[in-house]
Symmetry: C2
Subunit: 216 residues, 2 copies
DNA sequence: GCACGAACGTGACTTTTGTCACATTTTTCT
DNA sequence: AGAAAAATGTGACAAAAGTCACGTTCGTGC
């Protein structure tokens, strides 16, 4: 019971301004709580998707990974949002095309597909929520396409750093050069080189496992 | 009256297997017919979106374009499909982020946003149609991301040519090297060079304004 | 303290892609 | 036919990014 009240509170705090109380109540009843630590992988490429997550707090990184292990960051999902794409993957019983990783300790609530489909019919607010989620993801994906297609790697790197700062609300980026290289689908050596250039320009400070953005 | 029956027929033929008759009837009443010739631009970047198209026949090319005139093909929309993204753009009164071009003479039916929102509440089949459209576009966008991020230009070029062949149902690709360069966001010289390599390998034949794919 | 591994720095070189300049061919328009 | 425009071919060069090899620094655990 405490648990149920707890879930309702989490939902009210994160998506209460979007969804009506009756729906929140229904959601509280079927939600499964999942807590993650930083760097925990939530969904692997090829996973069968049985439940759909809503992010309550924290941040999730969604990335693409091909057969050869190439990786590329697509977008982030923050508190109060969901990855609606998983819904259709679920319905169509398609395995996950993406990898989802918590980039900080996060709280998720997981919902069964059947309920989500039921809510689509029953609640207008839910429909708006899902469509809006699709739209946001789509826009973010377009931004990613823009970056890969039109920007040079040094520009993408700077964008990555500022995005990270905005997301985490801290000027300190706690990543190794290798991790950044993975997210941008580049190599460690190249990223180190470009970071050094940014340091020489006075834009960042490089420390072990940490980069500090000096001008924002 | 003839016109109305005509629209109903077009809708039945293209999306009749997805949407119920009552909805098709409603759609026929508000649809505006739009016919395009090949290479006609249907939506420019920055256009205010007032109506949402459903492609009845033909093929539409959706591409991204940034301020400096850089261009990149994102995906195609074929008969029986829609660009659901425009719906949300419409609702939120956001200007178009993409350019849509007919790649052959095509027939579209245009619908007002208000009706589309109304149908979202009223018809389950419409909801599925829209969600499914979002999902397909998302998947295609991911494939594009994969291509830009993980493939070399020669591989992307070959993929572009085979995609084109599949789409148009003809082994003859009626494009100039410049057009291909634009779609892939590269330069004419580079594309000419890579095409010549493909010709030397026996994969294609190069003619003026035309490329013939020899092995598929 | 020392060994070890992880993270980072760096020079030399290669591959991929883009750019420039100019030649050639084909089509279009008088 | 002849001029102009569009499409393509090509060599030389430059820039961006990736790769390789190896060195250095830093922190942890024994």
């Amino acid at each position: 019971m405490q648990n149920l009240l707890n879930k309702k509170q989490l939902l009210t705090d994160s998506v209460g301004y979007l969804l009506e109380e009756e729906l929140i109540n229904e959601m509280s009843e079927v939600a499964k709580l999942r807590e993650t630590v930083a760097d925990e992988i939530i969904i692997h490429v090829g996973d069968e998707l049985l439940m759909i997550p809503i992010v309550i707090s924290g941040s999730i990184k969604v990335s693409r990974e091909d057969v050869e292990g190439n990786e590329l960051l697509l977008y982030y999902i923050e508190g109060g949002d969901t990855c609606a794409m998983t819904l259709q993957c679920c319905v169509r019983k398609v395995d996950s095309q993406i990898k989802a990783t918590a980039i900080e300790s996060s709280v998720l609530l997981m919902f069964p597909v059947e309920k989500m489909e039921e809510w689509m019919d029953k609640y207008k607010s839910w429909r708006n929520f899902i469509i809006s989620s699709y739209h946001s993801r789509m826009m973010e994906l377009m931004e990613t396409v823009d970056a890969i297609a039109f920007m040079r790697l040094d520009e993408r790197l700077l964008k990555y750093l500022t995005d990270q700062v905005k997301l985490m609300g801290s000027l300190e980026i706690l990543h190794t050069h290798q991790q950044i290289a993975d997210d941008l689908h580049s190599s460690r050596v190249v990223i180190s080189r470009l970071l050094k250039q940014l340091e020489n320009k006075g834009v960042i400070e490089i420390h072990r496992n940490k980069i500090i953005l000096k001008q924002f």
